[in-house]
Symmetry: C2
């Protein structure tokens, strides 16, 4: 079977370009693997929760494996293709370290800002708390900025799953002023977003919402 | 060389038993791998930041690999030992899926509660926001509770890195009333905490703080 991901057939306008299927789409494009997309209308349905207990997207399936979690899915796509993960243990584990860092050490701060400014925008604490949330995020971004010297990617010249995940997370700050304070990180993010595979993945996510919604 | 982790020689009382070195310690004990611990006094020093750019612990080193991020470290310990990760692709990827779920889909909600109730306790929004943060966490815990039927571990009878990481995260809710609302999850967490390897790891973390502080 052709590897298949599940994602939303429709999302509100503010979420377009931010749905997590971007990550497996990008990985598929990088490794040159064709894939199918199953569009769903309701991620909280009992049927979908059998694939994804938290009622989220994406999920992934191939002829051997059925999983959720974008971090695990991207790893599966990369390992199955024998690409995006270096073979030597030292470099391999650094690629996985950066994938974990994107998910554990950076994304929670990016999400905290979205939670405060979007999902808690109507709560009485949202305005007062904004500066604290931005401050915590900027501390993380400054730490990451300091990693880059002449590096093109996180671990030198080779683009890995670690970069794919880190740039996916940083790219979610588009439309937000904070990333611009960090010139090396901004350039790194733009470098990732300029890759043909990223652009194709993003265009394909957007194309979904221009098609008729899934029933 | 003997695999070596870096962690704190001293932490404030509220953090004891919660330092992330518990995760590699537990993995080492599960696979029967002896290890060394380098104690540091200042995780924000330039020297330590060369190992861990965010100025956190733990870091890990063996004769081939030097990494940070507890998710990647636990994976390395498991892969190096050929334990805690099933060999067959379907089960292997589900173990990695649950490891990713612990870090991406559960830990941010556990941490959000700690951030609100401990690190933002003196902010004007902390009391008002508490119920929202608890509500978000309970939604996640309820979703996870629904995964368990007769399962002993997340994917059946075999304890994997996915369980090690999920229980590490859930165990951080000890001293908190929320987990008790979910009987299957509570029993699962206690089952993990009862493993000899977890108990040894926890005892060894506590023993550090009874020894003289690192200079």
């Amino acid at each position: 079977m052709i590897p298949t991901i599940t994602t939303f057939g429709w999302v509100p306008e503010f979420a377009r370009g931010f749905v997590r299927d971007l990550r497996p789409r990008w990985a598929f494009e990088e490794v040159g693997q064709c894939y199918r997309v199953d569009l769903i209308a309701d991620s909280k349905s009992p049927e979908h929760r059998r694939l994804q207990p938290f009622g989220q997207v994406p999920t992934y399936r191939d002829d051997e494996v059925a999983i959720f979690e974008s971090g695990a899915i991207v790893l599966r796509i990369a390992e199955r293709a024998g690409q995006l993960i270096p073979a030597k243990p030292a470099r391999r584990m650094r690629a996985l370290q950066w994938l974990a860092a994107a998910l554990s050490s950076v994304e929670p701060y990016v999400m905290a800002l979205a939670v405060n400014d979007i999902f808690e925008a109507d709560r009485e604490w949202s305005n007062a708390r904004h500066a604290k949330v931005v401050g915590d995020l900027k501390t993380r971004l400054a730490d990451l900025e300091a990693v880059f010297g002449d590096n093109v990617w996180l671990d030198g010249d080779e683009f890995t799953v670690g970069d794919l995940m880190m740039i996916s997370v940083l790219s979610e700050l588009r439309g937000n002023a904070e990333l611009a304070h960090f010139p090396l990180l901004s350039a790194y993010t733009r470098r990732g977003e300029s890759r043909p595979a990223f652009r194709k993945a993003m265009a394909d996510q957007w194309a979904t919402f221009k098609a008729p919604a899934a029933s």
